[in-house]
C-alpha cells in the first residue's frame, strides 16, 4: 500500500535507469495492441484482444482479472511460451530497450529470456525438473547466459539460494525438487529467476499454490529483492490484497481486454469501471482473511465468465454489468482517460474502457 507513495520519493534501487526513464517518460517495457488466438477443436479462442501497457523500471505492475481472462497468455507471449500451434500472436508489439521481443527473443545472438526478463510460475512443484538438482537448475541459467563454468555457476547458485533465504543453501543445492517443500521450491524458483539480474521479473500467480504464511514470506522476498536489484515486477494475481501490498500500477483485464488501468490508488479509490468496482466489492475484508478465510474465491461476480470463442459484442462485460446501457451491447467503448489521483504517478495513466465516461452519459447520470 505504501509502495506507490514511496516511489515519488525515488527510493527505488537502480536509480540511474529509473531516473533516466522518468526524465524521458520512456517505459522499460511497452506492450502495444497485443492479440493472441488459439486454434482449438471447438473454434478459435480469442484469448488476448488488444492489450496495451507499460512497465517502468523498479516498478510493480499487477495484472488482475478473473480466471481465464488472458493474464497468463499475455505474459507468456512476452516470454515466447505460447505453444504455436495452436497459439498465434497475430498482432501487436512489445518493446524492450528498443527491441520488439514478440518478433524475436534474441538480441545480439543472446536470448533475452532469463537474462533481461525472467519468470516464475504458479505451481513450483511441477515447474522444476524432477531429475535435476536445484543447484544445477539454477546454475544452468548462468552457464547459458553468463558463460560460467559448471562449478562457478554452482557456487553462484548457492549464493542465490542464500539470497532467497533458503537455510543450508549449500546442502539444499544438491537436493532434488521432491525433497523441498512448496514454499522452498518457490524460493528456489525465485533464485533461479534473479540469477542473471533481469530487468523484469514476471510472476504468474506466484503465491496461489502456497498457504497464507508462506504467501506473505514469498511476497516479502520479492519486495526485498526488488529493493536490492531495482528490477521491475509484473505480478499476476487473483488477490486484491496482494495487489494492495505489492503493486504500483494495476491493469484490470476482462475477456482478453484491458478494462481499466492506473495507479494502485486510482484502482482502489477512484475506479472508473463497473467490473473493477465489482472486484473491489467481492474482496473480503482483511479481518475475514485473517480469520483463515483466505482461500475464498475473491473474484465472485454475478453471471458466468465470458465465452472467449464468441466474446459478447460491444462491451464484453455488458451481460453482467449492473450499469449496462443500450450502447454497451452494440459498440465497444473507447479507453477514456481519467485524471490521476496521485500526481506523481509515473507508470500508467488512469484509463477505463466504459461508456459511463462518454459525455452523453455523463450528462445523463452522475459519475458512478
Amino acid at each position: 500500500m505504501t509502495h506507490s507513495t514511496d516511489n515519488s520519493a525515488g527510493s527505488t534501487v537502480g536509480a540511474p535507469i529509473t531516473a533516466q526513464q522518468q526524465a524521458t517518460r520512456q517505459p522499460l517495457l511497452r506492450v502495444d495492441d497485443l492479440h493472441v488466438d488459439f486454434q482449438t477443436y471447438g473454434g478459435v479462442v480469442q484469448a488476448v484482444r488488444g492489450v496495451s501497457f507499460e512497465v517502468a523500471a523498479g516498478q510493480t505492475l499487477a495484472i488482475v482479472g478473473e480466471s481465464g481472462c488472458g493474464k497468463s497468455v499475455t505474459v507468456q507471449s512476452l516470454m515466447g511460451l505460447i505453444p504455436m500451434p495452436p497459439g498465434r500472436i497475430h498482432k501487436g508489439t512489445a518493446t524492450l530497450r528498443g527491441h520488439d521481443i514478440l518478433a524475436s527473443k534474441f538480441v545480439g545472438g543472446q536470448d533475452i529470456r532469463g537474462r533481461e526478463i525472467s519468470m516464475i510460475f504458479q505451481d513450483p512443484m511441477t515447474s522444476l525438473n524432477p531429475t535435476m538438482t536445484i543447484g544445477r537448475q539454477i546454475a544452468e541459467t548462468l552457464e547459458v547466459h553468463r558463460g560460467y563454468s559448471q562449478s562457478q555457476a554452482f557456487n553462484r547458485a548457492v549464493e542465490l539460494l542464500e539470497m532467497s533465504k533458503i537455510p543450508e543453501a549449500a546442502k539444499r543445492a544438491k537436493q532434488y525438487p521432491f525433497e523441498f517443500s512448496v514454499g522452498m521450491l518457490q524460493r528456489a524458483m525465485i533464485a533461479m529467476a534473479i540469477a542473471c539480474e533481469p530487468a523484469i521479473l514476471v510472476a504468474d500467480e506466484p503465491t496461489t499454490a502456497l498457504d497464507v504464511t508462506i504467501q506473505a514470506q514469498i511476497l516479502d522476498l520479492l519486495g526485498d529483492l526488488q529493493q536490492e536489484t531495482g528490477m521491475a515486477i509484473i505480478l499476476i494475481t487473483h488477490d486484491l490484497g496482494v495487489v494492495a501490498r505489492m503493486a504500483d500500477d494495476v491493469m484490470v483485464m476482462y475477456a482478453g481486454e484491458v478494462v481499466e488501468r492506473g495507479s494502485v490508488d486510482d484502482i482502489f479509490y477512484c475506479s472508473g469501471h463497473p467490473y473493477t468496482q465489482g472486484l473491489r466489492l467481492a474482496m473480503p475484508s482483511n479481518k475475514r482473511a485473517e480469520d483463515g478465510g483466505a482461500e475464498q474465491t475473491l473474484l465472485a461476480i454475478d453471471g458466468s465468465p465470458p465465452d472467449l470463442f464468441n466474446p459478447p459484442t460491444g462491451c464484453a462485460y455488458h451481460p453482467r454489468c449492473p450499469h449496462a446501457m443500450n450502447v454497451c451491447a452494440q459498440q465497444a467503448p473507447a479507453q477514456y482517460g481519467l485524471g490521476s489521483t496521485s500526481a506523481s504517478n509515473q507508470g500508467l495513466s488512469h484509463q477505463a474502457a466504459c461508456w459511463l465516461h462518454h459525455e452523453l452519459c455523463a450528462a445523463q447520470k452522475d459519475q458512478p
Binding site: M79, G80, L81, P83, K105, Q110, D111, I112, R113, G114, R115, S118, M119, F121, D123, T126, S127, L128, N129, P130, T131, M132, E140, T141, V144, H145, Y176, F178, E179, M189, M192
Partner: protein, 311 residues
C-alpha cells in the same frame, strides 16, 4: 535403497520357489508317468529307471529332493536323451539365446528411444506419420510371421544376388545373428517407440520444460537435459516385461531360423514331453525373468532420484 533391494530379492526368491513348486506338482499331475512311453519296458528296467529318476519314492520326498537339487542348481537328467544333464543342456544352449536376446534388446531399446524421440519432435509431420505407420505394423504382425517373411525375403535376396548375402538360418558367425536379432527386437522396438513418443509428448508440455524455455536455455539443451532424460524413465520401467517378451519371442525366432538356443530346445522338449527338461528350463527361465524384472527396477531406482532417495 539397499533395504528395498533386499526386499525385492527375497520376494523374487519366493516367486521362484512358487514357480518351482507349481512346475513340480503340475508335472506330477500329468496323467500317466514319464516312463509310460511307446517303449515296452521290462519290469526290471522300469524299476531301474524309476530308481534312477527317483520316481520310486513318495511324492513329498521327491519334492524335497527336487527343491534341494534346485537350490544347488541341479535340474536333473533328461528323459529322452538319457545321460544328458539338464544343466548341461542349459549351459550349452542358453548362451546362444542370451546372445540373441541381448542383441535384440539393445536394438529394441536404442531404436525405440531414438525413433520415439524423433516422432515426438516431428509430431504430426511426415517423419512421425511414416514411422508411426511402421510401428503400428510392427505391433500388429505376430513375431513368427515377421520371422517367416524375413526369411523368405532373405531367400529371394540371396537368389537375386546369386550368393549368400545373409544366411537364412543356423548359428555361428555374426552374420547369422543379424536377421534373427532384428526380427526378435522389432516388435519390442515398435512398442518402445510408441511409449517413448507419448512419454516425450507428455514431457514437452510439462511445466519444467516451460521453465527451461523461460530461462532461455537453447532448444538442443532443453531436449537433451530436460526432455530426453525425463522421457526415458517410463521406457526403463517397461524393460523388465520387454525382456520377458524377447525371451519368449526368442522361442519362435529360434525355431524359424533353426538357431540352437535354449528356447528351441525348450519347445522341442515340450513337444516330446521330456519332463525333466521342461521342469528344469521352466524353473530356469522363470528365475531368469523374475530376476531380470528386479534388476531393471533396481537400475531404475538408481536413475530416478525420487526412488533412489526415498527408499
Amino acid at each position: 535403497m539397499l533395504k528395498y533391494a533386499a526386499k525385492r530379492i527375497v520376494l523374487g526368491l519366493i516367486t521362484v520357489w512358487f514357480i518351482a513348486s507349481a512346475t513340480f506338482f503340475g508335472m506330477h499331475a500329468v496323467p500317466g508317468d514319464p516312463l509310460t512311453g511307446d517303449k515296452a519296458l521290462t519290469p526290471k528296467i522300469r524299476a531301474n529307471l524309476e530308481a534312477k529318476y527317483g520316481l520310486d519314492k513318495p511324492l513329498a520326498t521327491q519334492y524335497w529332493i527336487y527343491l534341494g537339487n534346485i537350490a544347488q542348481g541341479d535340474f536333473g537328467i533328461s528323459y529322452t536323451q538319457e545321460n544328458r544333464r539338464v544343466n548341461d543342456i542349459i549351459r550349452e544352449h542358453f548362451p546362444v539365446s542370451a546372445t540373441l536376446g541381448i542383441l535384440a534388446i539393445v536394438f529394441a531399446g536404442v531404436g525405440g528411444v531414438l525413433w520415439g524421440a524423433l516422432t515426438a519432435l516431428y509430431r504430426n509431420r511426415w517423419p512421425d506419420v511414416a514411422i508411426m505407420f511402421l510401428v503400428i505394423l510392427g505391433i500388429s504382425v505376430p513375431s513368427f510371421v515377421m520371422a517367416a517373411i524375413s526369411q523368405w525375403s532373405l531367400v529371394n535376396l540371396n537368389q537375386t544376388a546369386g550368393g549368400t548375402v545373409l544366411p537364412i538360418g543356423g548359428w555361428g558367425s555374426v552374420w547369422h545373428m543379424v536377421t534373427p536379432a532384428l526380427v526378435l527386437g522389432l516388435s519390442t522396438m515398435a512398442y518402445l517407440t510408441r511409449l517413448m513418443r507419448s512419454s516425450m509428448l507428455e514431457v514437452v508440455n510439462t511445466d519444467y520444460v516451460r521453465t527451461a524455455r523461460a530461462k532461455g536455455v537453447p532448444a538442443t539443451q532443453i531436449f537433451s537435459r530436460h526432455q530426453l532424460r525425463n522421457a526415458i524413465l517410463p521406457v526403463i520401467t517397461v524393460l523388465g516385461p520387454a525382456i520377458a517378451g524377447i525371451t519368449t519371442g526368442g522361442f519362435v525366432v529360434e525355431i524359424v531360423f533353426a538357431i540352437p538356443g535354449l528356447g528351441r530346445y525348450f519347445v522341442q522338449a515340450i513337444q516330446q514331453l521330456d519332463y525333466t527338461v521342461i521342469m528344469g528350463t521352466t524353473v530356469f527361465y522363470g528365475a531368469f525373468l523374475v530376476f531380470m524384472v528386479i534388476l531393471v527396477d533396481l537400475i531404475y531406482g538408481l536413475i530416478d532420484p525420487r526412488v533412489r532417495v526415498d527408499q
